[in-house]
Amino acid sequence: MTVDLSQFIPSFLEESFEGLELMESSLLNLEAGDNETIHSIFRAAHSIKGGAGTFGFDVVTEFTHLVETLLDEMRDGRREVSPKDIEILLTSVDCMRILIEAARDEADYDKEKIAQTTAQLSETLANKDTSDNVNTEQVPQNSNNLIDKSGSNNLSIYKIHFVPEHNLAKTGNDPLFLFNALADLGELTIVANTSELPALTDIDPQELYLSWDISLKTSASVEDIHEVFEWVEDECLLEITQTTIQSQAEPEQTPDLEQTQASTTAENKEIIAVQPAITQEPPAVVAEETATNKPKGKAKAKAEVSSIRVGVDKVDNLINLVGELVITQSMLSELGSDFQMDKIERLTNGLEQLLQNTKELQESVMRIRMLPISFAFNRFPRLVHDLANKTGKEIELIIKGEQTELDKTVMEQIGDPLVHLVRNAVDHGIEQAEVRVANGKPEKGTISLDAYHQGGNIVIKISDDGGGINREKVFAKAVEKGIVEPNSTLTDAQVFDLLFEPGFSTADQVTDISGRGVGMDVVKRNIQSLGGRIQVESTVGKGSCFKVNLPLTLAILDGQLVKVGTETYIIPLISIVESLQVDNDLINKVSGDMTLYRLRDENVPILPVYQLFGLKSEFTKIDNALLVVVEADGQKVGLMVDHLLAQQQVVIKSLKDNYQQVIGISGATILGDGSVAMILDIPGMIQIALTYAQHKQQHRSAASHYEIGAPC
């Protein structure tokens, strides 16, 4: 029979990647003499090798075998753990990852890198100080042909003399099963030798006293027979002699099993009854053997299978909550079937309970998608280690709050931006040791990653104690690039925000700010697409801090409901700076349609929502209107709305999936009364407003041209 194991590939892959992460982080923390850590690294490699072999990922098996051998030497204390070895092992982990990914996607991989690392590993292994010969252990190939029926067509007769040690049964072996296995190979004749039997009174029932002479007619090879006795070879006297060779063409003889039985004399029988393991059943031929070809577990696991492992406690909690919900439901339905006004209090209580249940259920379900941010942070020790090596700086990485939980989707997408920020901190934040010492700082630079919850958000801080960002240089660069006017006055925050301007990065390398902007616009865009924002704080000489604010989940959003005309819209709470009623004195009309509102020391453009969306509204006058000041891309705008309604959590439904993408709208939700409300996309709205204003401007200038031109 063939068992299809391909269904286990995804779980093997998941486990392997976890194993690789464990290997990597353990290697980075490995200190001499820390045997437990080496053991756990070894175990991870070992499991990967075992699984890969099973699924026929032979390249992975072969490569991992080298890694395993090296680790084995370290584990047994035969090899000192040198920093160089650790580097090689780290590279090997990368290679294993490449190979496993390639196996998963059935894609090509960087053969050169693998070959290089393989060579390095072999070289390291060859250079070991002891002569202990573990290297010769062969990678188990797919030579699992228990019975190679196709191998030889010739029938042979083997004479097997089998004398087990008396305590064979104590290791759980049982001659009867061995004979069964032999019977699977061919025709079997067994003669028991009872001469060693002691007197009945002297018999220890847990010992074996018999020996056997076996004759086996089979097409199997002598190795196959040895394999049957593989586990007992050390505990018995075994002689196998091949006597006759017959061609397959000869007519089959009838198996003389009866003879086998008959030759077990009556004298033996009573003794056999005492033997714990041996019974009188004829050797049953049980199995169909198709072990000739290993089923290759080559399932198409191409599609990235996404799964979450959830702790049992979380699931239990859910079941518990659902139970409560059912109780509440039955209470309410009982109440409803025979409702009178005097029961109104019970109804209110019931509804309250329902609200509580739903809320808890929602939180618990969300928690299932939550993973500790250590999943995203895990790669940083390695990254910093490598970068520090490359740049020749000494850097310590401090990670805090790695247990802070975050939605899986958010986690997957925040990884790359974080890498970018950390890379920048190493590259451009931390100074070279000499510079640091000259500035009175410790030689070793520090980068810290910190994550914590704040309200409904998660805050991730990447800070370094490096040189900080030189405000003047950024400003000068921005002026040079034409991003800002030379005479404009900007706050620090606004200046640092310039780093995220597209194109800012492509600037020539300017010492301490260089590269700070490399791809930073992408970082910012990624964070924004997750509904988050990024802020920069920096002090020259002291260091910089990038603070990323992210919503905990992409499925639910804290929103402010507002009313415009007959429509209800939702503004993400995270983007709201403040809401206010317009003070008429602070309104500034500038060029044509643009209206600015003086908000303390800033001028905020007012965008009437009804105008942008072409709605009919009774509140078209700016005087005394309600303004929701929102911020996006460092730009504040005031959205003019009719009414402010409640604040509530809304479940985001994608417009793209259900309809199509609409500019200015990031999604929709269904409100309590069943109506659909749109969720406003603030950057998108600003975009619309800009286009709208430009359009008007052009229109007007075109019109004036015409007027000028007309008289001519």
């Binding site: 075992g50 699984g51 252990e137 290791t171 759980g172 072996n173 296995a181 593989e230 050390d234 198709t290």
Partner: protein, 120 residues
């Protein structure tokens, strides 16, 4: 049908062994390390134990010698499932009372064929 205790720290290997055995009609109980295996062994009766060697908390060799101390595991076949096919490891297994070993890569057909040498 025979009841088999499967001990391995790797989820996927454990699942695969278990799945293979179940598909051949065996009953299985799973444990993720030697310690758990031992306590499950004490609370049930098994016809066969298949255990990995390298596991956290308690390794397979220790599990094996612990099991042999239990009266109802005195003759129970214990197979070590391992990639370590070195003689040294086999000797250590034998010394601890292991019946035999199954060399990974794990091959389901081979597994089923081999365990017939020790269990019905």
């Amino acid at each position: 049908m025979a009841n088999v205790l499967v001990v391995d720290d790797s989820n996927s290997i454990r699942d695969m062994v278990s799945f293979t055995l179940k598909s051949a009609g065996y009953q299985t109980v799973e444990a993720k390390d030697g310690q758990e295996g031992l306590s499950k062994a004490q609370s049930g009766s098994f016809d066969l134990v298949i255990s990995d060697v390298n596991m956290p908390i308690m390794d397979g060799i220790t599990l094996c010698s612990e099991l042999r101390k239990l009266s109802n595991f005195k003759f129970t076949p214990i197979l070590m499932l391992t990639t370590e096919s070195s003689t040294d490891m086999k000797m250590r297994g034998k010394a601890a009372g292991a019946t035999g070993w199954l060399v990974k890569p794990f091959n389901p057909d081979k597994l089923l064929a081999t365990i017939k040498r020790v269990v019905r």
